[in-house]
């Protein structure tokens, strides 16, 4: 989708500018504006990127999951010259973070923060100093990340929860963000983290961290973190009685109600809701790094905004943040997809290009490479994008990267706003709940066409608001490069409402204001054995999972027309479903599942297609579901897939239907 050649994109631009712009049908591609190039790795180097930083001389320092640190000279490949890789250190324990300061490279290992020094100047570390160490239980999910170094030299690290069928804080300070001085003095800063793989400063130096969907986490998000915050997952509260804890909140103070976080938060002192939600599968599936655009325009029109990586969908998202009533909130936008592996780390090169470090081991990603290092450059061309979305007392103010076409921009039907949220509970993930359309009542476009203010009825405080603007056009007739945005409305500002005349499209029909949504029934999911099967099923097949987005059964044979009981045991630590689809249709079904958008979770990510024959529900980790069906009479190689967005590429197997 994002892989069209630059030549084609440029050709389209020429056409669009020269000829009738409205008639131009070739859509722009992300690659027209942001170009990905790949750093070739020396053979044998397993560069599963865990951490990255750029040294003052422009060298790129990379730590890996296998515990090596590499120094890469000429990472921008200036002059077409190959980058040079020098191994600086080795033997670290899953080094998932790296930062440079004052001649030393700091890296966080599972059990400690380490300072690496090259004292004899041979380009290789000869001192591995333990700055601060913490206990571990020995669980694989006990990852440790960082450091993020404050201007005063204080280092911030985060400690992942373990996984034992749920997120568990099995040793002290798991689920916490810690601050550590260069002398090794550690102070616990905040808790409530589940899987805080990425954190960074915004443009003003405030700390934000990214969270991954799981138990208590309905969807990924980024949250502003200050000392004493509780940001959502109760497990880390286990340690609030320990000396040094800035919180006194206890696990039992967090009720497991299934209500949205916005409703529960007032009763939980210190609970800080996300600044910006990244709706699951619509924006990303596994939040990773956070990188503020400090390039002052060198990387394009988004200076001061924040980029957020996504490991599972191999993409980088964009977030605009603002502070309303003292609280951070803002909008998330798609930005660039198509990276070769799972995006874990991002860092600015000295030339304002973004280095993207990747790994997909154990969790799989849309990009099929197991690991890699890529570079993202702005081509200098201006995409047509929503640049910012700011909350207003009665709606939103949008700014654009290019002037909008007055006709579509003043048409109320160009704007669709839908509010929704997630459940806050111990269950893994959440469906989209309380989804309601908010009616757009008016619009006012600025004289220069660079912004538009919309008045919206039915804004809900604490809710995510999807803004969909598919039919909006630029003055040159281009559609938006990304037509959707997700604004998290923690606070509604006060101030005057806008004055407008109802647009020509008038008010939307009443049905749209309060949609009556039929309960979803899915006829292809039969979870009780048909009464007519008096002798039971002819065969029972049980399928589980393997780490890395795979079923544990690659293929099985079954007789045409026989009665099959198919048991799907989701023994993984993320959500999956299982769909049996017609031969050769797995890719299409997978794509259509992604296209379900906000409807996806409710429909178990099962698109309504003839190609889909049978399916389970979307199963949380540890859940088993049996479905019953009569095997098709037509012999052939049917496919079973997980259609959860991003999984269908690897998570599939073959049901061979054979003649009896």
């Amino acid at each position: 989708m994002a892989t069209r050649s630059r030549v084609l994109g440029l050709a389209w631009l020429v056409v669009a500018l020269a000829a009738d712009p409205i008639g131009a049908q070739v859509p722009a591609a992300e690659s027209d504006y942001y170009k990905i190039s790949t750093l070739p790795l020396p053979e044998g180097v397993v560069l599963e990127v865990g951490g990255m930083d750029v040294l003052p001389d422009g060298q790129l320092a990379v730590s890996t999951r296998r515990g090596e640190v590499w120094l890469i000279k000429n990472p921008s490949m200036t002059g077409g010259v190959r980058p040079h890789f020098q191994r600086f250190a080795h033997g670290l324990h899953e080094a998932l973070g790296l930062a440079y300061r004052d001649g030393a490279i700091y890296s966080t290992q599972r059990g400690e923060l380490t300072r690496l020094l090259d004292t004899n100047g041979d380009g290789r570390a000869d001192r591995y100093e333990t700055v601060c160490s913490w206990p571990l239980e020995g669980n694989y999910h006990e990852y440790s990340y960082g450091p993020l170094i404050r201007p005063d030299g204080t280092m911030i690290v985060t400690l992942n929860l373990g996984w034992v069928g749920y997120g568990a804080s099995l040793s002290k300070w798991r689920g916490w963000m810690l601050e550590i001085t260069p002398d090794g003095e550690m102070t616990p800063m905040a808790t409530g983290m589940r899987s805080p793989a990425g954190f960074g400063f915004d443009i003003e130096g405030e700390v934000f961290y990214g969270e991954n969907q799981g138990d208590w986490i309905g969807s990924g998000y980024i949250t502003h973190v200050e000392r004493g915050d509780f940001v959502g997952h109760p497990e880390g509260l286990r340690w609030t009685g320990e000396p040094g804890s800035p919180l006194t909140l206890k696990q039992e103070d967090v009720p497991d109600t299934g209500r949205p976080m916005v409703e529960v938060a007032p009763d939980i002192p210190g609970l800080k809701p996300p600044a910006v939600w990244l709706p699951h599968t619509l924006m990303g599936v596994s939040t990773s790094d956070i990188l503020a655009d400090t390039t002052a325009g060198g990387f394009g029109p988004f200076a001061g905004q924040v980029f957020v990586g996504d490991q599972g969908q191999s993409r980088v998202m964009r977030v605009f943040l603002e502070k309303v009533n003292g609280v951070y909130q803002g909008a998330a936008f798609p930005f660039r997809e198509g990276f070769s592996s799972g995006v874990l780390r991002m860092v600015w090169g000295k030339d304002s290009s973004m280095f993207v470090g990747m790994t997909s081991r154990g969790w799989g990603s849309t990009g099929q490479s197991p690991y890699g290092l890529q570079r993202l450059e702005w081509t200098g061309l201006m995409p047509f994008e929503i640049k910012t979305i700011e909350a207003r007392p009665d709606g939103f103010e949008l700014s654009f990267t290019k002037p909008v076409d007055p006709e579509t921009a003043t048409d109320l039907s160009s704007y669709h706003v839908t509010g929704f949220t997630y459940q806050y509970h111990s269950t893994y993930g959440s469906p989209i709940i309380n989804r309601e359309t908010a009616a757009v009542r008016g619009v006012k476009v600025s004289d220069d066409g660079m912004s538009a203010r919309i008045a919206v009825d039915g804004l809900r405080k604490g809710y995510i608001h999807e803004l969909m603007m598919t039919s909006l056009r630029s003055a040159a007739g281009e559609p938006l490069l990304h037509d959707a945005a997700y604004y998290t409305l923690n606070e509604i500002p006060s101030g005057p409402s806008m004055v407008f005349e109802a647009g020509p499209a008038g008010a939307p029909p009443a049905a749209e204001l309060a949609p009556v949504r039929p309960a979803v029934t899915q006829a292809k999911r039969l979870t009780t054995m048909p009464k007519t099967w008096t002798k039971g099923p002819d065969a029972t097949i049980t399928i589980g999972t393997e780490p890395g987005l795979r079923f544990d059964l690659p293929a099985f044979d079954v007789q045409a027309g026989s009665r099959l009981k198919l048991v799907f045991d989701n023994d993984d630590d993320m959500m999956h479903n299982l769909l049996v689809v017609k031969p050769g249709t797995a890719d299409r079904v997978g794509d259509q599942a992604i296209a379900l958008g906000l409807d996806g979770p409710e429909q178990n990510y099962v698109p309504e297609l003839g190609e889909v024959l049978f399916h389970t529900a979307l199963l949380e980790p540890g859940i088993v579901e049996a479905i019953y069906f009569t095997v098709p009479l037509e012999p052939g190689e049917y496919t079973y897939i997980c259609s959860f967005p991003g999984h269908a590429f690897t998570m599939r197997g073959t049901m061979r239907v054979v003649r009896p």
Partner: protein
């Protein structure tokens, strides 16, 4: 003959369902009585039953014995150097025993008197061949051209030999050749699995015929075990066996994941990982391997040695493949497991128990690498700073450990524990045998400090008191195994 077939058939019918229900049940092993020589055919007198044996690192072919029972020993002479045949025959067999060899000695165990697994002092050999300990010896055909008479030998996967004078262990699963009613061979004999000192050195090795030195030129369904007696002294104990093999898994899944192995080629390699120490998972460990093939691991939380081993270095499949559910790094050589408890401690009295963990006054500061890449571990215990390094010695046969400790001259009551075990035997010249000669420690000269062997709670400690009179103390010793 007919009756016997019938019995076998009945046995199979009865065993079938059980074998299918429980995959690969371990056959219970019987111990061979070594109170006398009744289990063996008579020899010229070179084989005896004794109560104790000892051999040292430097004396060729000398094994010293003491009276008693439980150990079978061969001390050959010109006049008496018979091979030893067991007094019964076997087909399929599981066989385990321990053996000790003096320097440069040579023997071998012949399954069915025909198929030899070599026993040799191969201590420290970098690249073992079929003729080193654990090797399946070559076959021999004198009709073949000069230089090619020997064929089909199988070197062990790695050299897991222990030093002369230490007890070693073989665990063998041998499948006898199969024959049809006409006596034609239908399946070759097979070393299903051979372990040496706990390490798998052969799996599913097919034997096309008797190896060199076989007592028989033919192949048969059964034959007697034989231990070679004409090449040098050897002691053997704890012989255990079962005359059947565990039932193979009826429908084994093919392996899907290749091993991820780390082998040092040039500089030493460090791996920080979770490692099992006994049945406990240690979370802050550092394994250090070197190209000499002699490796160790540290517990950085205790300032202690956990394991020393030879052979391969580390398998990291369980860390580095997919999510690595257990996250364990596993030594792939033959491992000596040490106590894993603090090396340095302050004791209230010379008889106070040794602490099993470091207290709050312990801090691990990291390590520095020397010019060759060997780490010195740096830690603090109260007012004492410690630099702790371990280096390969004698071309990879042993490890040398040096602790350099610094503190004020008036510090007292600090000790280094060099070794602990169920037994510590004084060997003289600074040598000590730990845990019934599992490994030896050679203490280097320490000036006036006197090492102390003490018994505490049924175990023994080898302690060195520290004096900081010069502001610095050092303890140096060599681990031999």
């Amino acid at each position: 003959m007919k009756l016997r077939s019938g019995c076998l058939l009945l046995g199979l019918l009865m065993l079938g369902p059980i074998a299918a229900a429980a995959q690969s049940p371990e056959a219970p092993l019987s111990s061979l009585f070594l109170g006398n020589m009744d289990a063996f055919r008579p020899t010229a007198g070179n084989w005896h039953i004794v109560g104790g044996v000892a051999a040292d690192l430097n004396t060729t072919h000398e094994i010293r014995t003491s009276e008693g029972t439980g150990i079978l020993v061969n001390i050959p002479s010109e006049a008496a150097r018979d091979n030893l045949f067991f007094d019964w025959e076997h087909g399929d067999i599981q066989l385990e025993f321990e053996f000790m060899m003096p320097k440069e000695s040579n023997s071998g165990i012949y399954l069915q008197g025909r198929y030899e697994i070599q026993m040799l002092d191969s201590w420290g050999k970098q690249r073992p061949s079929f003729s080193d300990v654990g090797g399946i010896y070559q076959r021999w055909d004198s009709e073949r051209p000069e230089g090619r008479q020997g064929y089909q030998g199988h070197a062990p996967r790695m050299n897991t030999a222990r030093a002369p004078g230490l007890w070693q262990r073989f665990q063998i699963r041998f499948q006898a050749p199969r024959f049809d009613d006409a006596g034609r061979k239908t399946a070759n004999a097979r070393m299903v699995e051979v372990k040496h000192n706990g390490v798998v050195i052969h799996q599913n090795v097919e034997l096309t015929g008797p190896t060199r030195g076989s007592s028989f030129s033919d192949e048969r369904p059964t034959g007697p075990l034989m231990i070679q007696g004409d090449h040098g002294p050897v002691a053997i104990r704890n012989i255990r066996y079962a005359l059947r093999l565990p039932a193979p898994d009826a429908d084994p899944a093919p392996p899907r994941v290749g091993a991820i192995l780390v082998e040092p080629a040039g500089e030493p390699v460090l791996i920080r990982a979770f490692m099992n120490h006994g049945d406990r998972k240690k979370t802050h460990t550092i394994a250090v391997g070197n190209s000499r093939g002699v490796h160790y691991s540290m517990d950085q939380r205790q300032g202690s040695l956990m394991h020393i081993w030879k052979g391969g270095f580390i398998e990291t499949t369980d860390m580095w493949h997919s999510r690595g559910q257990h996250q364990l790094a596993k030594p792939i050589g033959s491992v000596i497991t040490l106590d894993g408890e603090p090396t340095v401690a302050r004791l209230a009295s010379a008889s106070a128990p040794w602490p099993d963990t470091m207290g709050v006054d312990y801090t691990f500061d990291g390590y520095e690498l020397d010019a060759e890449g060997h780490p010195s571990f740096l830690y603090r215990l109260g007012d004492v700073t410690v630099s702790d390094r371990v280096l390969p010695e004698s071309g990879g046969k042993r490890l040398f450990r040096e602790l350099t400790l610094r503190g004020d001259s008036d510090l007292q009551d600090y000790w280094v524990r060099v070794a602990s075990g169920t037994s510590i035997k004084t060997l003289g010249d600074g040598g000590f045998g730990i845990d019934d000669d599992s490994y030896h420690v050679m203490l280097h000269h320490m000036g006036d400090a006197e090492a102390v062997v003490r018994s505490v709670d049924g175990g023994s400690d080898l302690l060195v008191p520290l004096s900081f009179a010069d502001g610095e103390a050092a303890v140096r010793y060599t681990l031999v195994w």
